[in-house]
């Protein structure tokens, strides 16, 4: 128990330290998408979002963080720590994927904005066991289909 607390404090220190080191930390308290894009590993996600139907409607945090104040910053701290450490240590997968926890946060946000639209259909009597994005596969980050890099430069 005491150990856990200790670890907690240490990691907090690490978050602060590494965070400040990697990039100016305060922007993460805001909602500016480019803040996410500070990391090149977020490029694909950023670009996808940039070209998706939602750019003018929703920022990263509209979907990726809960919308009651306290949880929002808890998630940010947790994710932020994960991102920074993963990024600095480079121990993240080739293809970054949302965690189940993020999926559920996102789902809540879809419904939050579209309550009216889905009022009728979200009134099922059984658990659907599926997410909005199982169908709306490209609303958030555009087409996942074709490998992106070959299209980066048409110069050659």
């Amino acid at each position: 128990m005491r150990l856990a607390v200790l670890v907690g404090l240490v990691s907090l220190a690490v978050v602060a330290a590494v965070g400040l080191y990697v990039s100016d930390f305060t922007v993460y308290l805001g909602n500016d998408p480019t803040a996410c894009n500070n990391c090149h590993v977020m490029d694909a996600a950023y670009e996808g979002w940039f070209h998706s139907g939602h750019k003018q409607w929703a920022d990263c945090n509209d979907c990726h963080t809960p919308h009651d104040l306290i949880p929002k910053y808890l998630v940010k701290a947790e994710a932020g720590y994960h991102h920074v450490s993963a990024f600095t240590l480079g121990n993240y997968p080739v293809n970054i994927r949302v965690k189940e926890s993020s999926r559920e946060i996102i789902q809540e946000n879809c419904i939050r904005c579209h309550t009216e639209t889905v009022a009728t259909v979200a009134d099922g009597q059984m658990d659907a066991g599926r997410y909005c994005v199982d169908c709306h596969r490209s609303v958030a980050h555009g087409e996942r289909g074709i490998s992106i890099l070959p299209y980066q430069d048409t110069s050659r």
Binding site: A119, A122, D123, A128, G129, R137, E143
Partner: protein, 406 residues
């Protein structure tokens, strides 16, 4: 958190009328749910044709005369039309040339929203064995709300006793299925292969060994069952009927990806702000933007693939039919030959049965293979092989063995 129980009040339209359990009249349900009702009503007037489907009830026998010989000796050789919308089911079952005085009430099972109420009142057994004409007096509504929904909750439910029994026999309890599973299972109330068991013509699904074509074949073979004796080859035949559900769940791309029948055939539609399930159930190719476009950004690409796949399956299916016709000719010729080897002739007839039930599993299925392209082609390849072997055995029955290299 998922699309799940939110308080009833949030439903698009507040209930105006309490609908009785198993209410046969869809218009009564429609008072509460005008969008679903009016879209369902459209299935009455749909008449657009697609390459291999659509809602124009053209004559399948005229389109492909081979069918007349393949079904020789049974009603499908007399009358077989392309199917159309749910609201036409009653008209079509009454107008078909396949109905005669011996037809049982069982034929109404999947054609009327009166069925659930009648099953409840008179019991399935009596329903099935009552003559078609007589039962007809109590049947007035085509496939409708009561065939898929529970009136009080609007839940999707298993309404057909045959499906309930088939699932129970497999030790599966549909009341525990997820909503997504029910979006396909509700179609299995009708879009499945069936037969009438025994004298009572009891409606039964042959699922005891599983849902693959091989499992269904084994079921019928173990039972020593035949739908009819082929008029030309005298083989004991099985007629397969609309196994949409069975083909789809056999490891298809979409089924394994968690997609349901309703996703493609009842895509959401927008009415002002709120969206609802389009109850104008028809070929998704007539509505591809909504039916496919939400999951597939390039609708042109997927529709293109459907056309490619359907042509591949159609060409392969026609080759199977030619092989079946050749087998029938050979068996007929052999049987007519005085010095025929009876044992080998019987083998040839068994091969004809095995080949044609496989072919029919794909031919009677209504997506021209799209619901599960690889499985459809695998089955057709086996059917052609068996048909040619039937032809060879028939030859051997006359010429003696050795020659054919079997």
């Amino acid at each position: 958190l998922f699309i799940r129980n939110t308080a009833t009040p949030t439903r698009g339209i507040p209930e105006l009328l309490a609908v009785a359990a198993n209410e046969p009249d869809s218009s009564k349900w429609g008072v509460n749910f005008p969008n679903q009702y009016s879209s369902w009503k459209l299935t009455e007037t749909n008449n657009t044709r697609t390459n291999f489907g659509g809602s124009e009830n053209f004559d399948k026998l005229a389109a492909d005369p081979r069918l007349v010989r393949l079904f020789a000796g049974m009603p499908f050789s007399k009358s077989y039309l392309e199917d159309r919308g749910h609201a036409m089911s009653l008209v079509d079952v009454r107008e078909t040339g396949r109905i005669n005085e011996k037809s049982p009430g069982a034929c109404y099972s999947c054609k009327a929203s009166d069925s659930p109420a009648l099953w409840a009142s008179m019991g399935p057994a009596d329903f099935y064995k009552t003559p078609f004409a007589e039962l007809g007096k109590q049947v007035n509504n085509p496939v409708g709300c009561a065939n898929c929904h529970e009136a009080t909750t609007m839940k999707l439910v298993v309404t057909n006793p045959a499906l309930d029994e088939a699932l129970k026999a497999q030790g599966r309890d549909w009341t525990t299925f997820t909503r997504q599973e029910m979006r396909s299972v509700v179609c299995a109330n009708c879009h499945v292969e069936y037969y009438f068991k025994g004298e009572g013509r009891y409606l039964t699904f042959p699922w005891a060994n599983g849902l693959t074509v091989e499992a269904i074949e084994k079921y019928y073979n173990d039972l020593g069952f035949k739908d009819w004796e082929h008029a030309e080859s005298k083989a004991p035949m099985i007629k397969m009927q609309h196994p949409e559900y069975e083909l789809f769940v056999a490891g298809s791309t979409h089924y394994n990806a968690g997609v349901a029948c309703a996703d493609c055939h009842m895509p959401y539609k927008r009415d002002g702000a709120a969206k609802f399930s389009d109850h104008n159930v028809r070929s998704p190719l007539l509505n591809a933007e909504a039916a496919c476009g939400t999951c597939h950004t390039s609708v042109g690409y997927v529709v293109d693939r459907v056309n490619i796949i359907q042509k591949q399956v159609y060409d392969t299916m026609i080759a199977t039919e030619d092989a079946l016709v050749a087998a029938i000719d050979a068996i007929k010729a052999a049987a007519a030959n005085p010095k025929v080897d009876a044992a080998r002739l019987a083998e040839a007839q068994q091969l004809h049965r095995a080949a044609q039930l496989r072919w029919d599993f794909i031919a009677a299925e209504n997506s021209m293979g799209f619901h599960n392209p690889e499985e459809a082609l695998r089955i057709l390849a086996a059917a052609t092989d068996l048909a040619r072997q039937a032809q060879l055995k028939a030859l051997e029955a006359v010429t003696g063995a050795g020659l054919s290299g079997n």
